[in-house]
Symmetry: C2
Subunit: 136 residues, 2 copies
């Protein structure tokens, strides 16, 4: 899909999203693909910076059944680009890199309180820049 950033904005309006805004509940559940078009999983939740209101991380979920045994991989929000054609987010990260990255289980949610944890996410993914285009 070729177009300027402006025209992408109007081309890319799917039925479940608006031109400039999307609800958190619609972001959650959206598929994430690598640049080859392989599905890497889906977005489970987004982490919002309390002070600024800025989305800082997308949390991807893997495996598990009805939430049991599920594992979560946080990605810096800036690593995600929205692809209107696939109707999902694309990351320049392959499956192996994702599997080797920071992850946690539901019972470890309090790891978010540890600045070392978020620093570790940022460091691990620092080599993966955004694909450009829209951030969401």
């Amino acid at each position: 899909m070729v177009g300027s950033t402006m025209s992408m904005g109007s081309e890319g309006v799917a039925t479940d999203e608006t031109g400039g805004l999307i609800s958190a509940s619609k972001v959650n559940g959206t598929n994430v693909y690598n640049t080859q078009g392989d599905s890497l999983g889906s977005i489970y939740d987004v982490m919002i910076d309390k002070r600024s209101g800025q989305v800082a991380y997308a949390v991807m979920s893997f495996g598990g059944f009805l939430g049991i045994g599920e594992e979560y991989s946080p990605l810096p929000w800036s690593a995600l680009s929205y692809d209107t054609r696939q109707g999902g987010y694309v990351v320049k990260i392959d499956k192996e890199a994702l599997e080797g990255g920071p992850r946690y289980s539901e019972s470890d949610y309090d790891r978010w309180e540890d600045p070392e944890f978020t620093r570790g996410i940022d460091d691990y993914y620092s080599r993966y820049a955004s694909l450009g285009g829209r951030a969401l």
Copy 2:
């Protein structure tokens, strides 16, 4: 609760949130109070700016039963302050002002595609500044 912005950050860590980050799924469902401590409703969802990843609006829900007949009132995110004591958001907006503000029903979700709608929200609440303190 008296303290600098920095100390509020550590004092204010509830069991279901981290120091600097909160998940969208935990924001959703959080109570909203006016400055007198009366409950105005709860947060149903947040609207995220696709381009910047910034939370732009909190959507409050009212009435209805199991989602039927429910009505939604969007507030500019900047109008909300998080109160650790009450464990909810506080807005400098009274019930009457909220009731007189822009609202929509579930079937009207596509109103978010209309720039006039978001402009109307911003204009209506432009007189209500944040209470200061943390934005979330």
